[in-house]
Structure formats: structure tokens, C-alpha cells
């Protein structure tokens, strides 16, 4: 049988067209799926991951801030003010050189030692921290005392004389002073007095510490550290000691003296 050539061609074309249309729907849907995955799902997925990290971060921030609020709410403002007064007595915010000298003179007078000489280099009185070179760390000096306090101390060299018991009393008074002072270098020599009793001559270096008050708070989210039990006990001890001082804690930075001198160059 012989078919006409044009009809065969038509049939072939319609078959190809049918094949293409049959394939178009599944291939098209596959392409659409790929497009959705690439253009919507993948960007949103990365965004979800970013949001998850951000949410975890925010959750931590909220928790730390909530705990900070709780800590701050539980603190007693009045007690804190008392503790601030005690801490200010231990570590004043300025050098307080003249108060310190007065305290040493008072300690010497109360213990019975004779204060022969006092030597102090107050330096700047503005209360700024000086950049002195750091001394080499030794057994009793600064490394263990915290690097933050190396430059915030007033050093006073004193020479005293008296009997051994008075000297011991002097040391005890120094240690029990509300302001933190430390005896560093100590040199003791014995001698006999004119009355024949034993006397000692002592040269010592006394260090009084101070610390400028923090003027700027850290980040609002920074956690608040509460006082430890030992710190609370120390502050309470100082508060008791201050209360036991009859005249109360020294308030004025320098002792009051009568003022006014008509002739500036007339001797006493």
C-alpha cells in the first residue's frame, strides 16, 4: 500500500507535538519546583537560621537583664549607702594626704612612741592616677595586691623611737585604722636610753591606698556582681570601727587651723 507523502509528514508532526505537550507539564512543574526552592525556600531558610541565632542571642540577653533587674531590686539602698561610706573610709577616692599624716601623728601619740620625722611626697593633689614605673614584684608587694592599685597609694616614711611595747601598740593602731595602710619596709635598731631602759629606733615606710570612684557605668546589659560574704563582713567591721571612734570618722580632708596672718614673713 502506498500512502501519500504529505499525510505521513503530518502524522509525524502531530506525534512530535503530542510528545512535547505530554512532557511539558511534568518538566514545567519540575522547573517551577526548582524555582520555588531557589528563589523562596533557600533565602527564607538562611533567614530562618539567622533569626534562630538572633533569637537565641536575644533570649540570653533578656535572661541576663532579667536577672540583673532581680539582683538590683533585692539590694537595699540604705545598706548600700552605709557600705559605700565604709568602703570610702577604707579606700578614699582621693589621696587624703593630710588626713593620713594626722592619723599617723594620732597613732604615734596614742601609742606612746615619739615621732621623730615624717617624709611624704604627695605628688599631684588633684587625685589623678600617676604613671609611676611598676616596682619588681616581691613577696609582700604589689603584685598580689592587684595591679589596679599600684599607682594609687601614698607612701610615707617615718622615723619613730620609743620602747618595744609602745612600738607594738603603734603597729596595732596602724592595722586597726579604718583606712587601709600597710607597713612595707621596716628597720629597727635597739639602744639604751639615758635612764638605762631599752629603747628602739624604727624607720618604716607606711603606705596608704586610695582609689578613684568609678565615674561611668559599663554596658546596661553588663551583669551586676554582688558583694561576697567576706567583703560584706569587712565593710561591716569597718562600720563598727567607725561607730566606735568617739569623734566619728574624719570628714575634713585637712585639720582646721586658725586663719589670717598680717605679716607674712614675721617669724613665730
Amino acid at each position: 500500500m502506498q500512502l501519500p507523502a504529505l499525510s505521513v509528514l503530518k502524522i509525524q508532526n502531530s506525534l512530535i507535538f503530542e510528545k512535547v505537550t505530554n512532557l511539558a507539564v511534568p518538566v514545567g512543574s519540575l522547573a517551577v519546583s526548582m524555582l520555588i526552592l531557589l528563589l523562596i525556600v533557600w533565602p527564607k531558610f538562611t533567614e530562618v537560621l539567622r533569626l534562630k541565632t538572633a533569637t537565641a542571642e536575644l533570649t540570653t540577653r533578656v535572661q541576663s537583664m532579667d536577672s540583673k533587674v532581680n539582683v538590683l531590686r533585692n539590694l537595699d539602698q540604705i545598706e548600700l549607702e552605709e557600705q559605700l561610706a565604709s568602703s570610702e573610709q577604707m579606700l578614699p577616692s582621693d589621696k587624703g594626704v593630710f588626713t593620713f599624716i594626722e592619723q599617723i601623728e594620732s597613732a604615734a601619740a596614742n601609742s606612746g612612741v615619739l615621732l621623730n620625722r615624717l617624709e611624704v611626697s604627695p605628688g599631684s593633689l588633684s587625685g589623678t592616677v600617676e604613671n609611676k614605673p611598676q616596682p619588681a614584684p616581691t613577696a609582700s608587694s604589689p603584685e598580689s595586691k592587684g595591679a589596679d592599685l599600684i599607682n594609687t597609694k601614698v607612701q610615707l616614711k617615718a622615723s619613730i623611737s620609743g620602747d618595744y611595747n609602745s612600738f607594738m601598740q603603734f603597729l596595732k593602731i596602724l592595722r586597726s585604722m579604718p583606712r587601709i595602710v600597710a607597713v612595707e619596709d621596716l628597720s629597727i635598731g635597739s639602744s639604751l636610753s639615758t635612764s638605762g631602759s631599752s629603747q628602739i629606733r624604727v624607720s618604716l615606710q607606711i603606705e596608704a591606698y586610695w582609689k578613684p570612684m568609678i565615674t561611668q557605668l559599663s554596658n546596661i546589659e553588663a551583669p551586676v556582681t554582688e558583694l561576697t560574704e567576706s567583703e560584706k563582713n569587712l565593710l561591716a567591721k569597718i562600720k563598727t570601727e567607725i561607730a566606735n571612734i568617739p569623734s566619728g570618722p574624719p570628714v575634713a580632708p585637712a585639720p582646721s587651723v586658725p586663719l589670717g596672718r598680717p605679716d607674712l614673713f614675721a617669724p613665730f
Binding site: 510528545k19 511534568p26 519540575l30 548600700l80 612595707e184 629597727i188 546596661i220 551586676v224 561576697t228
Partner: protein
Amino acid sequence: MADINLLPVAARDQENFSILVKRISIVSVVVLVITGIVTFIILVLFSSFSSKRSKLVASVEASSGQIESLKSTEELIVVVKDKASSAEKLVSSRTDFADIFENISKLIPQGVYFTDAKFTSGKVSLSARAQSSADVAGLVSSLLSSEGAKYFNQVSIDSLSSNELGLFTFNITAQLVNKK
């Protein structure tokens, strides 16, 4: 007897093509369904995390406001903590000479007295006199005892001499144990 293929070649191709189309259709439907499900899940997750984030941002703002209202308390605790912790370090690290003298006086033999004592940067140098060599030995023994070791270590006698009266003069150096 060999099989006789009764189907024409064109019909077989058509059948193979139909099977291929069917398979591709199934795969495309499956992929489309999975894509839909994944898209839905991702969008749900996205909206959930977005709303959670908004709530957390609001919480942060609320907490910030509360902290701001408690600023005076925060200032106080920060200042007190700063000073108290420094003070505690200082108090625990300073040398208590009164305590050292009181305790070593119990260890010193009655026939010994010091003429000079120097405490510099943790080093101790003692010049002393003793009535007899036994007293010197007693002092050294005390300093090396467990009680003496609480205050001094690396004890050494730098010089020891006696005069015609039998009095001993000697120098001792040691390292002061850092009392905390």
C-alpha cells in the same frame, strides 16, 4: 521456536515514551508536593521566629527601662563592689608585723636579743646577740621549727662571732613568708 514480535516498531517507541512521561510526571508531582511542604514549613518557621524575635526585642526594651529606673542602686553596688574587692585584696595581702613580732617572741630564747632588724621587700635581716652558743642553736632551731617556718624560710646565718666574755654576735637573713 523463535518469538514473533507482532507490535510494530513505532508502537513500541510510543509505549516507551508513555512510560517515560508517566515516570517524569510522578517525579514532578512528588517534587512539587515536597517543595510545597518545605515552603510551608519554612514560612511557618520564619513567621514564628519573627514574632518571637519581636517579643524578645520588646522584653529587652522593657528590661532596659527597669534597669534604667534602678540606675542609682546599680551605681552604688558597682562603686561599693569595686572598692570592697580592692580593699579585701589589700587587707589580705598586707604583712601583719605586730602579729609576727608577737608570735616570734615566743620562739626566741631568753638569752638572745636583737640589736637590729630589717624587713625589706619580704627579706629579713636580723642582727642579734646571744649569751652562749646554745642560745644561738636554740634560736636557729626555733626558726627552723614548724612554728618558725610559718613566718620565715630560707634561714641562713651570715656571720657568727664571739668575744672574750663569751657573748655571741651574729647575723641572720631569711625570707619572710607572705602572711595572708
